[in-house]
């Protein structure tokens, strides 16, 4: 972590909680989890609320599909920490490692449903170029995604464009494979709140 306050600036009760989590999980608390505990009234409380709503709130997309979107957006942003975290979570949620790997290797040929493929393509363009037009959306709708699904996907995209930037700018430490797997289990059990 590149700011000292994000390593050491927590209240005693929060430090105790971090120690307890480390003890129980056998893994240090990931920096992504730590950052929401720092002055939570500024960022963490509302960020958790929004991210949870986007990733676990009501949606026609499955949790696995949304985790895959998170991994894909993170890959477009070249955010190694978040790619690791959300490929692990998507793999566990989908019970299918090859599906996740295929999407991240070559979206066009990945064995996934057309509405999801078209949605990921649109999220990639929006994230990469910072814009999207009506034609992009017509293609997603023509592939079979509903307008509500597009809105839900845009919420996932917004959540991860925030998190990816904090990971890069605050220098989130990458985890071991075991650390990512443990984090993924937590995210599937408890969500983002």
């Amino acid at each position: 972590m590149w700011l000292d306050i994000l390593d050491r600036g927590y209240r005693p009760g929060t430090k105790l909680l971090f120690a307890l989590i480390r003890l129980l999980s056998g893994q240090p608390l990931p920096d992504a989890a730590k950052v929401v505990f720092y002055r939570p009234d500024f960022y963490g409380t509302r960020a958790k609320e929004f991210t949870h709503e986007a990733m676990r709130g009501p949606s026609a997309w499955s949790v696995g599909d949304r985790e895959l979107m998170a991994a894909y957006v993170s890959q477009v942003n070249e955010c190694a920490f978040c790619v690791g975290a959300h490929t692990a979570t998507a793999r566990q949620a989908c019970h299918d490692a090859s599906r996740v790997a295929a999407v991240l290797t070559d979206l066009d040929s990945a064995p996934i449903e057309e509405p999801l493929r078209a949605t990921l393509r649109m999220l990639g363009r929006l994230t990469r170029e910072g814009k999207a037009g009506a034609e992009d959306m017509r293609q997603v709708l023509a592939a079979g995604a509903s307008p509500e699904q597009v809105k839900d996907a845009l919420a996932v995209c917004a959540a991860f464009n925030v998190t990816n930037r904090l990971a890069d700018a605050f220098g989130f430490e990458r985890l071991t494979p075991q650390g990512y797997e443990a984090g993924a289990r937590h995210l599937l059990k408890r969500g983002y709140r």
Binding site: W2, A54, N77, G130, K151, N161, R165, D168
Partner: protein, 127 residues
């Protein structure tokens, strides 16, 4: 921008925005807080970071990277902003504002394009 989906968050949010879903409302609450709530960076600086506009160097360089090329941010970019007089708490706030601001623009662009594609959101759709 056609407006209406995530209206300007630089002002205090009042009332409920028509057609806004729970996800958009939760995002707006986050954006509204980082811009308009209490902070150690001035509201003007936070608005500048959110919009990626009007900040002085070297802060402008850091915030520009956070918004547009986040993978290229380095520890040195943060150190330079620190050396120019920002505290760590101010940098914490300003980096968050830059990240939320960029995402707000993406979210808005996507929702506007969707509204255009589905024939909703004609000009004047929302105040």
């Amino acid at each position: 921008m056609t407006g209406g989906h995530l209206p300007p968050v630089a002002n205090k949010t009042e009332g409920i925005v028509p057609d806004e879903d729970d996800k958009q409302a939760a995002f707006r609450a986050l954006a509204d807080r980082v811009l308009n709530g209490e902070g150690q960076a001035s509201a003007r600086q936070r608005a500048g970071a959110f919009r990626n506009h009007g900040l002085a160097p070297p802060l402008a360089a850091l915030i520009g990277k956070v918004a547009d090329r986040p993978a290229q941010v380095t520890r040195e970019d943060l150190a330079a902003a620190r050396a120019s007089g920002c505290t760590e708490d101010q940098l914490f706030e300003l980096v968050i504002c830059a990240a939320v601001g960029h995402s707000a623009r993406l979210y808005e662009a996507g929702l506007s394009a969707l509204a255009e594609a589905t024939g909703e959101g004609s000009p004047g759709h929302v105040a």
